[in-house]
């Protein structure tokens, strides 16, 4: 049997999924953070409808921190458990990156669905443009998953991971967080639909750019 990218990416994805289903560490940590964050926001604005701009900002802050808690683990845990070399012996870097990034996308999708329902229920946020809301969230989850996966991959082998993650993460995440807030704000009823669509397009362009650059960047440091 000849090795195909699809089979290799699938193998890494299934390994991540099985590990997560058995340990539930990512689901628990990001789920718990999301619940606490939404309840805190709901209590702070108790009885009042949150302004759409503020709501979009709070939503993205919660989504971003949920991602930062769980997604970099995909690579960091390999180095902490001493399995990184096993992977470097058996696999190709692009397959490893995409397998882990796809798993992170699934985790982000699950988190964002739970987060959306909780925000709407607990904070009385009203979604005016459902399609734009869904599109911006989907693009945001893809961009977020790829960016944070890359961030985790870059810092995994470093001694001082936390400091390095901050230095790499800020320029990597700020641009699309700004676009994500812009698109979400419009979907919640503030600003023109055109500006929302432009922000949403920017999110997808960023995701595409990261999707092209990140696996190659990871391949360059693969056996570094």
């Amino acid at each position: 049997m000849n090795s195909t990218w699809q089979a290799e990416i699938g193998a890494v994805f299934r390994k991540e999924l099985k590990t997560e289903l058995r340990t539930k560490s990512g689901l628990f940590s990001s789920g718990l953070f999301s619940i606490i964050a939404v309840i805190a926001v709901a209590l702070a604005g108790y009885g009042e409808r949150i302004d759409p701009t503020m709501g979009a900002g709070l939503f993205w802050v919660t989504l971003l921190f949920s991602a930062m808690i769980s997604l970099p683990r995909a690579f960091v845990s390999e180095e902490e458990a001493g399995t990184g070399d096993q992977l470097r012996l058996l696999a190709r870097p692009h397959a490893v990156f995409w397998g882990k990034a796809l798993f992170n996308m699934l985790l982000m999708a699950a988190t964002s669905v739970v987060l959306s329902v909780m925000f709407v229920v607990f904070t009385n946020l009203k979604v005016d443009h459902l399609l734009l809301f869904a599109l911006s969230l989907a693009g945001g989850c893809v961009a977020l998953a790829i960016s944070v996966t890359l961030c985790g991959a870059l810092v995994a082998q470093a001694t001082n991971r936390s400091a390095l993650a901050g230095v790499i993460g800020i320029p990597l995440l700020l641009p699309f967080v700004a676009m994500g807030v812009g698109a979400l704000r419009v979907s919640l009823g503030s600003g023109s639909v055109n500006s929302g669509l432009i922000s949403c397009g920017g999110l997808y362009a960023f995701a595409l750019l990261m999707g092209a650059a990140a696996p190659n960047l990871y391949a360059a440091i693969w056996k570094g």
């Binding site: 890494v12 096993q86 012996l89």
Partner: protein
């Protein structure tokens, strides 16, 4: 088939070893000897491409190193949340080969297929590592102290596997303990 030309490895200002050169062909078995910290494991990692040499170069056989090279080492760990069967299948899928299930039987893991790797003893994990390292029928097999943690039956199984691998033309580089010394035809002492 495998040539190591003037290889040296340095951590900061400290040279762990320098000017290591040898050439091995099909069926050879080289035993790397040396005290703790003399760089035996590091040399294997340099050959495997997991660490870059500070000087010199390593020429591996042509082909995809995922299939031409197998490494079993003490500090390369297994996925504790996968079962033996899942782990073995994962390694095969990533290498793009069919899982060679009989090897698991050769190392005595036939009754452990559905057990989580994290629940295995250190000796059983060592057997699984050797099975994974040899499963793709590599041309170069690197064994970092394969006898550690193994009981007599395990050592005998490794001995037999190494013999089978050498007979089909695989060359072996192993680091020192009594088991590996009995396997070898050539020796390299890093202390000298």
């Amino acid at each position: 088939m495998l040539s190591v030309e003037g290889v040296g490895k340095r951590f900061g200002d400290l040279w762990v070893f320098r000017s290591i050169s040898f050439e091995l062909s099909a069926g050879d078995a080289l035993i790397v000897l040396g005290r703790n910290g003399s760089g035996k494991s590091t040399l294997l990692k340099v050959i495997a491409g997991l660490a870059s040499p500070s000087e010199g170069k390593v020429n591996l056989p042509d082909g995809d190193s995922r299939r031409t090279l197998g490494l079993s080492a003490l500090d390369i760990h297994l996925y504790h949340n996968l079962t033996v069967k899942e782990h073995f299948a994962l390694a095969a899928e990533l290498r793009g080969v069919e899982p060679d299930w009989p090897i698991l039987e050769q190392v005595g893991l036939q009754s452990r297929f559905n057990q989580l790797v994290g629940e295995l003893s250190s000796g059983t994990k060592a057997r699984l590592k050797i099975a994974i390292a040899t499963a793709a029928k590599p041309q170069v097999l690197l064994l970092d102290e394969p006898g550690v943690s193994l009981d007599e039956a395990g050592r005998e199984a490794v001995r037999q596997i190494c013999e089978i691998q050498r007979t089909r033309g695989c060359l072996i580089v192993a680091t020192n303990d009594p088991l590996e010394r009995s396997l070898g035809t050539l020796e390299l002492d890093l202390a000298s």
